[in-house]
Symmetry: C2
Subunit: 267 residues, 2 copies
């Protein structure tokens, strides 16, 4: 089946959407058939891709709560090799609306299985929380990428995130792995960034022989440099490759995609 990448970090504003969109777009550019799933009620991935979810009949929300909505109806074409399922603000109600559904943690996987054979990669952009939406992503995913900024306060939340992933892993998705950390908005030359990256790598190293989902995790390369073009692109509803294909931001995400593909080929 397809590689299913859940892009997760409960901390806000760390680069999840920017990474999910541009990594997915880079993989599509490289020739892989990619499906993007916006699982965030903020609908930033949908905005970023130029999808006006308010004008759509069917979004990921309908897919989760309405059995008559077919998966194909919810899929829109964004570009060559690049499809998407959009989100819209109604999705904020999903947490409470699904609370009484015993299958609520696996709805997304159940609804998406019928289109698995159409894609090489599925990328899921998650909200900054560890609620039912993120759990749905975790139960469907083959792997987790964690975007984060190499800052002191960013390190504080990683423990809690991994704990949650560990729990979902053992309960519903035993083969799930946290395979990559994406360093976003990276300021390479600073002492702080170097210390945080060193802390991260030390932690990863110490987990190599343990039966934990992050035993094969690595810091992906290159780190994504801060580049205003990456913040401008969403305001035009474009990926960085559509907006400014030769800027640092595009180069960094293209190189990151190559690193990801190499990792898949040597795993």
């Amino acid at each position: 089946g397809p590689r299913i990448v859940a892009v997760i970090n409960q901390k806000g504003g760390v680069g999840k959407t920017t990474s999910a969109v541009n990594l997915g777009a880079a993989l599509a550019d490289a020739g892989l058939r990619v499906l993007m799933i916006d699982l965030d009620p903020q609908a930033h991935m949908s905005l970023h891709l130029g999808v006006d979810s308010t004008s759509l009949q069917h979004t990921v929300y309908d897919l989760l709560v309405d059995e008559t909505c077919t998966t194909t109806e919810a899929i829109v074409r964004v570009d060559d090799n690049l499809d998407a399922i959009a989100a819209e603000t109604d999705l904020a109600a999903a947490e409470s609306e699904l609370a009484s559904n015993p299958n609520r943690n696996e709805l997304l996987r159940t609804r998406l299985e019928c289109v698995f054979n159409r894609y090489d990669v599925i990328v899921i952009d998650c909200p900054p929380s560890l609620g039912v939406l993120t759990i749905n992503a975790l139960s469907m995913a083959t792997e987790v990428f964690v975007p984060m900024q190499a800052h002191f306060l960013a390190l504080q939340g990683v423990g809690k995130l991994l704990e949650t992933i560990g729990m979902v892993c053992s309960s519903v998705n035993p083969t799930l792995q946290v395979t990559g950390i994406i360093l976003c908005m990276h300021e390479r030359q600073t002492m702080l960034a170097r210390e945080v990256v060193s802390d991260l790598e030390g932690f990863i190293e110490s987990s190599r022989d343990q039966a934990v989902p992050w035993r094969n995790c690595r810091v992906l390369h290159p780190p994504i440099r801060r580049n205003i073009k990456l913040a401008e692109a969403p305001s035009f509803g474009q990926t960085i490759f559509q907006y400014e294909p030769t800027c640092h931001g595009a180069n960094d995400y293209r190189a990151l995609a190559a690193d990801v593909m190499a990792g898949w080929l040597t795993a």
Copy 2:
């Protein structure tokens, strides 16, 4: 009574804690008696101030759920003119634990009223959500400052934030005003920043004659430039003035404090 500033934005990672800490510290440096309240289960303000909340007997959590905990017991001295009430991870349970308490939205104000006469300013650092903790801050505050980054996606959440503030205002705190927007991690020269600031100012201008809590809002000056020192300081448990008092970050927050004080004197 004291000016009570709630630092609020449901979007994550926008500069709430960095601004609450350094603005509060700058006001204390200027001679005002300041109390900092950490209302975030992430406890980043407490970390930033060098307060080890795990070693404390009494935090803001105890103040909210335990009537036998006195307010004075929860207050720790950080520096001259600078006290704090810390948070710790137990606070994450407050949302559900307080759900059945009919006074849950006003607990903080009720518990803090007895120490109002000790302070000129109280600064409340809020979590990235609009739940019971943030509502407690809103019902106690005299004004709201909204830190944000001048990015496209950041604009998307402002409407929802103001809507919530409007609701709390009319229901529990009619004199509450949104008086300031703090531009954080600002890249002044970029077209994107200029466009976003212009959008913000246009929106504020159009609300001048309406009976809304942001009718007297303004963009505070100066914007806070991106400065790695501001991200390093919390890793040492220090405010920027303790860590690197002559850097751009310190200068910007000192100037911001002057702007805030001038606004208070001319209001």
